[in-house]
Amino acid sequence: MSVPPLLQITDLSITYRTRRATVEAVRGIDLSVARGQVTALVGESGSGKSSAAQAAIGLLPENGRITGGSIALTGQDGSREELVSLPEHAWRGLRGTRIGLIPQDPTSSLDPVRTIGASVAEPLRIHGWHDRERITARVHELLDRVGLDDPALRARQYPHELSGGMRQRVLIAAALALDPDLLIADEPTSALDVTVQATVLDLIDELRDSTGAGVLLITHDLAVAADRADQLVVMRGGRIEESGPGAAVLAAPTAEYTRTLLDDAPSLRQGVDRRPRRPEPGQAPLVRVRELRQEFPRPGSAPFVAVDGICFDIAPGTTHALVGESGSGKTTTGRAIAGFRRPTAGSIEVDRTEVTALGGGRALRDFRSTVQLVHQNPFGSLDPRQSIAAILEEPLRNTRRGSRSQRRSAALHHLELVSLPPEVASRRPRELSGGQRQRVAIARALILQPELVVLDEAVSALDVTVQAQILRLLARLQDELGLTYLLISHDLAVVRQVADTVSVLRRGRPVEAGPVERVLEGPHHEYTQALLAAIPGAGRQADQLHPEAVPAS
């Protein structure tokens, strides 16, 4: 190698010391980031990719330790600096100036009590800028550069006044403040909607181009990496499964695991083997929604209209998807159908029951057995103090069904149904992984034998691999039990996998509806087209990537 790369990691190992044992998180990995290029580090949670990134900026958690290998940063003048076992004060001189971090979660990564301007100015102040006017000018320049309108106004605003995508732009501006050579982007878009994700990734790409910085992009979604990476490194269990130029790895993956990741990325591959369902002609729909309108009162001003004019039918045994960005009213619609909030106007009929007419009390409680909800966050929706068995039996206890032993056997049966081993029954939610918890949430929804299951972003918080497994599970359960789904999602790639019909919502109003193939293959409305274009990997046809592949699973 004539020119040493900007960042070179060689044979790096990291261990964590926990109360019980030491865990080897990273076991001898090699990777490099070249100036002006993107190296994507891909893997599921627990693969060690974040540990590697944290080591590269010297911010491993307290109990983490680098046990071997080297991390070398090469300066513009060709000087090489070894980062492993660098003293803390030397690290402080590097962070922010030569290595910038774009964090994962834009909602909690900005100090809530300080202005945007103060946060962006922070790296400047830390590294010795004192001239107020110069700092303000630089902050405005940075905010403008990351595409925020009216930088002077934005600088005076507080984080809670900005959307998630805007906050991520602010964090990028702060990371760029001192023109670092290396940007570490740790899952920079996992918490964002697909459309916002696309614009933020474009921005990082464009800035890399204009500043010549190298980017280490950490992601669990191979599709995100596929669009942008010059170099692709696939990690699993602390080791590198495969690495090489991005296009080459994607076109001809050598490792089995890379193929799995490719198959699981919903935007790249049809990962769920599912026959589209057609309602028999003349069959009455299970769900009929007409002219649904939901207002929320606002003190001192006109009520906020969350949804308006929503109409759709769902035939029994099929899946209807509600698609849109945050704030489009899809969750509000889902909650109205599940009977959690009475809409302001309109009619909802589920299984010949008019939901809006249910007064509450007994009738509403009986209705709840017909419709069940699965939430987005598998961490927040399970009571941490109860065992899994108790969580599954709770709906049965609430509706006074069965004897104690019948309830127990129903719980075990439903664990089996969602492919969890029976010993899970005695565990607590925190002992399970995200995917396992979501399986428990699905089992809990099914235990009352509902007709309709409302899946509110039920796979959005999961890694792609786990997401694909849950989608396959949902498809299988629909086949076996004849369930009807209402799928709420911001991700058209997921919708394409498992839905039969779709309604696209924007700011509470339907913009397009119809069978999935029709809407997604030939979208009429520009908003649907924008959503489609935002799917990561949209430019790549699945067959182009992997010509001999047959949709697996």
């Binding site: 911010l59 590097l94 922010g96 964090p103 990564s109 922070e122 790296p123 507080y158 704030g327 969750t331």
Partner: protein, 326 residues
């Protein structure tokens, strides 16, 4: 503006409720102040003479009328006369107040300082990396819990024993005003510092684990920068609520401390008034404490939006929540 009016309205409501409850409880006590002072058989007053004294104090009228009368005179600023000494309650309190105020303010100041020092030392990142200080850290973290469980009077007595009688560092007799403040202030400060330190430690721990602190570290911030600029302001918010509530502790502590150290002050006046069932004095003390308590908590409430911008726009908040729900 709306927020301000609502807070002030709430404060007024709390105040009137405190007044009513205090009045009802004091008048419901068995025996009245007239009996307490003049009922002693040694004075040899006849039942007729006692009734006359009652009439003079207005104690024979219907309860509601007496209540309204008291309300009216309190609103005029007339706190009535001590049954025990016959002096105006306002004069009595005005004489006692400065000494108590000095004690309370110094106590609070010392308490806040001690709490901040303990909390910062116990959570300091620098300590975390030195294995040898693990024991020190857990000691520091355990300290507030120990301090919480000590009764005020006991602290006072122990401090007196050790510093005045055993070591002779602080004179008990012929002490200068400053010297006579040292031990009472310490006695008062310890039970207030303890819960404050507990809350501070917990909120510093919580804030330090927030992603934005890690992001600031990734910008090259030192431990001190993190503590003073990122953590401090966010961690103060819960402690501020605690500080407002701890004022109640301060009032109770002042009564005990002044009694233990024999200091003239509102606390001692209160203790004497309780012993003598001097209802007008007690009523005035209760109202005074309630006013100060309500004002302090009003100030705390009004400080919140200053420290936390998220609380500033009260009308925008519900709209945002809906957007999230939608």
């Amino acid at each position: 503006m709306h927020y301000l009016l609502r807070r002030i309205g709430g404060a007024a409501l709390v105040l009137s409720l405190a007044f009513i409850v205090a009045y009802v409880m004091l008048t419901a006590l068995p025996g009245d102040a007239v009996m307490a002072r003049y009922g002693n058989p040694d004075l040899g007053l006849s039942a007729a003479e006692l009734a006359q004294i009652r009439t003079a104090y207005g104690a024979d009228r219907p309860a509601l009328l007496q209540f309204l009368d008291t309300v009216a005179s309190f609103l005029r600023g007339d706190l009535g006369y001590s049954v025990q000494t016959g002096a105006a309650v306002s004069t009595l309190l005005a004489a006692a107040l400065p000494s108590t105020l000095a004690l309370a303010l110094l106590g609070l100041l010392v308490a806040v300082t001690v709490a901040v020092v303990i909390a910062v030392a116990a959570t300091h990142g620098g300590l975390r990396h030195l294995g040898a200080t693990r024991a020190l850290r857990s000691t520091l973290r355990g300290l507030p819990s120990l301090m919480v469980s000590l009764p005020v009077f006991w602290i006072g007595i122990v401090l007196l024993q050790v510093f005045s009688f055993r070591l002779g560092l602080v004179p008990v007799l012929n002490a200068s005003p400053l010297q006579s403040l040292i031990l009472p202030v310490l006695t008062l400060a310890i039970p207030i510092a303890a819960p404050l330190a507990q809350v501070l430690i917990r909120s510093i721990d919580e804030v330090s684990a927030e992603p934005f602190v890690a992001v600031t570290r990734a910008r090259g911030a030192s431990t001190r920068w993190l503590l003073t600029r990122s953590v401090a302001r966010n961690a103060t918010l819960p402690a501020l609520t605690m500080a407002g509530l701890l004022f109640g502790e301060l009032v109770g502590g002042a009564v005990v401390t002044e009694t233990v150290f024999g200091r003239m002050g509102v606390g001692l006046v209160t203790a004497q008034a309780v012993a003598a069932r001097d209802t007008p004095v007690l009523m005035a003390v209760v109202v005074l404490s309630a006013v100060v308590f309500v004002v302090i908590n009003l100030v705390v409430d009004l400080l919140y939006p200053v420290l936390d911008p998220r609380l500033r726009s009260t009308t925008a908040a519900p709209a945002r929540r809906e957007a999230v729900a939608a």
